[in-house]
Amino acid sequence: MSAEALKKRKAKVLRAEGVTPEVKRGRGEGDAQVTELWGDVLLILPGRRDPPTLLSILYEEMELERRDPEQDYKQYKQTCESLASLMGEIQELKAAGAKEGCTEVEKRRLQSCIHFMNLKKLNRLAHIRLKKGRDQTHDAKQKVDVLHLQLQNLLYEVMHLQKEISKCLEFKSKHEEIDLVSETEFYQEAPEEISRPLLTKEDPHQLTLARLDWELEQRKRLAEKYSESQTTKEKIAKSIEVKKEHLGSLQPGLNAIMQASLPVQQYLSMPFEQTQKQTEVARHLPPALYVLFVQAKAYGQACDKNLSVSISGDVDEAKALSKPPEDSQDDESDSDAEEEQEKTKRRRPTTGCQLDDKRREMLKRHPLSLCLDLKCKDGSVLHLYFYHLINLNILTVKTKVAPATDLSTAVSAGELLNAETLLSCLYSGDLGQETPNPANRYQFDKVGIVTFADHVGELGHPYVWVQDLGGLYFPGEAPQGVRVGSALSASHMEATMKLLRGRVQSRLALHKQFTSLEHSIVPIAAESQHLFPAKVISRLARWTTIAHQDYMDLSFTKHVTGAGLAKEADLFFMAVLERGTARLQAAVVLSPRYPEVSPLFSLCLSWKGEHSGSTDDNLRAMESEVNVFKSELQGPRPGHQLLTNQLARLCVCLDVYLETDGEDNSVEGPREFPREKMCLRTVRGPNRLKPFKYNHPQGFFSHR
């Protein structure tokens, strides 16, 4: 408390009374004190420097050099202490009640003034010293900066040099990429002037240079050789060209000779040219068709002059087809399938058309097809067109009949020469609807073909015999001495050709017969006249074709359909025989293999009620008379008159049936059908059958 109060007091003192008394007193005291005072002022206001002050400054500076800062500090401490003690004394005096201006106090005030002076001087000195120190530090700093700059420059230079060095070290010479001969080889082969072993053995650099030299030398030599070869090659090419030109000039001449020889060939009936062309084309046939071609041709030459073979289709397309390898096909289809699955997920609407494309691809035919023309004796021709389905590896056939004479159109005969059914069941059970290759089933599943039968109309029928003719063997249920290729084809050729011809002839014969049947005339050939009595009263009233389903729906054919004898492939007819009020319906199943398989009749008689083969033993006997005992009705081989003879016999049997019926009912007056046929006995056996068998020369009827 007392110290703070003291400081305040002192400051007050300095302000209030310090300056003026000091200035007064300064004028009153010596020069030294004055200069000291001025020095103070000058230091405070540096702008105005008078020479004397400058002098005093210089002086003080010089003084400074002599003085020790330590000592100054001590002096300052002492001064401060003595000033403090003087202040204390003054205060004590004042407190003791000393008056203003008393000597004691004055004395002390003087002393303290001196101390102040001293302090001022010390202060100045301290300032000067500070300034000096600052200057010195500044100078030193300047020096350090210069040095630092130098150092930076040097460091940069070092770095640059290092970079350059590393660049040099990393430099790749071109020669490293050049394949050089091995060192040992080099020393062995290179001449002395290049290898310079003395120099290079020591120095790897020189060695490399030498090796490079050697390489260059060698390359030069090879280049020379290359150009030499090039020129010889050109020379040879030129000579070849010349020779080719020469050969080319020969061609037109040869052609002319060939052309000239054609009439000669024709005249001598040696169709070399044509056969040559055909064999040329045949080279592009698929294997199966080729086998068929060769075998059919061979058979035609050897046994059957009326068989001709020709190839039709686009040869260029076939050539193009034979080029691409087929091995990738499977993988492709696999990946395709996957792709397809993906696609079906993504976009549904397009899959239908994609599948269509795939189906079309699957059922693709080979561009070449084989045409067999089978001439029959009467001049009608059976055209057979054989096709090969590339992806299914089966053969199909399409047929066409060209009859010799213009056939009048019988309605019921429409189906007879239908290309679709003409050749069905050529061999038993061979309908040609399903593909005989078991592998096709899986291929169909992939592209969603339900059955081959849907495509038969477009592609032709894949009958088993067609595969046999083409030498294609598919293991089926009946393995019979597995033969493949030509052997298989050859073994079937003759029989099949005969069957084909027989089929056409029988169909043509039927066609003719149907025309007259439709006019209610049963044509009987002269050879068969003896089978029937002269007078037959029952007449054929109607002959129509009926559908399979209609046949199945008939009530009196149940036993036939039940036994599975009415198949889709068969033809169905309805004959109506009439005599008086009696009307006999005969439903006929005509097998495509007619006449080998005889027609099957089922009877239904409307007379005195409805009777059928199953309810009336006599009608059953009539059925068996035409169906079972047909061998005598066949006429001359191959039995084309069978159907008409059966119908004629049916008429005779109906006569017998009607005339011998109910003979003991004499009470009923005149009979509708008077007995005209001569019968030994009207009934016989436990089931009382009527005599349906006609005995030719004697002309009577008897029992079987």
């Binding site: 038993s428 059970g429 036993h559 036939v560 036994a563 599975g564 004898l565 097998s591 293999r593 398989v597 005889s598 099957l600 199953s614 309810t615 033993d617 059953r620 059925e623 068996s624 169906n627 079972v628 003991d664 009912n665 030994l680 006995r681 009934v683 016989r684 056996g685 436990p686 089931n687 009382r688 008897s702 029992h703 079987r704």
Partner: protein, 330 residues
């Protein structure tokens, strides 16, 4: 089945389609059944195989088929050692031990010279004097001695062919029914006709819309069963009068007494069970549309079956009288 049909030749199929079974006979041992058809074939079926526990389709087919005659086999008969078959005007005997071997061929003398060889419709065995009665197309009944194969006597009197025969052993009488509508009773010792019953003249049994022929005839002690054109009727032989008439629509072809019933077959697809009183008890359906023959195997208790054949290649077998068990097939 469909496969099987397809592979069979169509000619064979037509053959089967028009086959009729006319006669049957069981072997003396009762294990085999011989059946004759309209093509003159005799087929031998093994009943023991067909009735056995491991019977299959194949065991219903004949174990042996052979052609015995030219014409249909209308009658078959078994003696102790032989199978007798009657064809067109000839009788053949086949040893049961070796069936293929034909032992004896006999032709009734009067049948040989006519324009058409008459058929033999019925044979009946008379064990009393080991003789065979044969009746057929020549309107006569011939008695043959089986010892030496000679024809002992001819019973003449019918005006049309003979359908059926029956032997009354105790009275040493032979009954015959024919197309002329008469049932004649013959005394074998004198070869004379004892009685002649013209069934179609009795109003109760006459059916003029069908005709007058008698096609089935069988006897049991004093009772006679006959039918055909006239209705099937039961006669009391001592009084010579019909006691009951059976209301069956078709013409009957064979009838037999069985226990206290009468089994009868004919036109119509069924076996009729009749009671003596004249009621039809049941009509059991079977395969053929009209039935020619019915046989009960009494030779073996083990294989006691009723077999029925007619206008079909099937012979229906009844192990129980009330339903068809299976069919034997040609």
């Amino acid at each position: 089945m469909a496969r099987c049909v397809e592979t069979a030749s169509p000619i064979l199929m037509h053959h089967l389609l028009h086959m009729s079974v006319f006669s049957q006979s069981f072997s003396p041992c009762g294990k085999f059944l011989a059946a004759g058809n309209n093509y003159g074939e005799i087929a031998l079926f093994s009943l023991s195989a067909a009735l056995g526990p491991d019977a299959n389709e194949l065991s219903q087919k004949p174990i042996l088929t052979f052609t015995a005659h030219e014409g249909p086999v209308f009658s078959l008969l078994s003696t102790d050692s032989h199978l007798l078959s009657a064809g067109n005007g000839e009788i053949s005997a086949w040893s049961w031990a070796e069936l293929i071997k034909k032992c004896l061929c006999a032709l009734p003398p009067s049948l040989r010279s006519s324009l058409e060889i008459p058929e033999i419709n019925a044979m009946a065995l008379n064990p009393a004097d080991n003789s065979l009665a044969v009746g057929g197309g020549d309107n006569n009944v011939h008695i043959m001695d089986l010892e030496n194969g000679a024809f002992k006597s001819v019973l003449q009197g019918h005006t049309d062919y003979i359908h059926c025969l029956s032997v009354r052993e105790r009275a040493s009488e032979v009954l015959s029914g024919g197309e002329d509508g008469a049932v004649r009773i013959w005394d074998t010792r004198t070869s004379q006709c004892v009685h002649c019953v013209e069934v179609y003249k009795y109003e109760t049994c006459a059916r003029p819309q069908h005709g007058k022929w008698i096609s089935c005839l069988t006897t049991d002690s004093d009772w006679m069963l006959c039918g055909g054109g006239p209705s099937l009727s039961l006669w009391h032989l001592r009084s010579m009068s019909p006691t009951s008439v059976f209301p069956l629509s078709g013409c009957q072809r064979q009838a037999t007494f069985y226990q206290d019933m009468i089994l009868t077959v004919g036109e119509g697809q069924c076996v009729s069970h009749c009671l003596m009183g004249g009621e039809v008890k049941a009509q059991i359906p079977c395969t053929p549309h009209s039935i020619n023959t019915l046989a009960i195997n009494t030779n073996s208790t083990e294989h006691r079956v009723l077999t029925v054949g007619g206008s079909s290649d099937h012979i229906d077998v009844f192990t129980n009288l009330s339903y068809k068990a299976f069919s034997l097939r040609f």
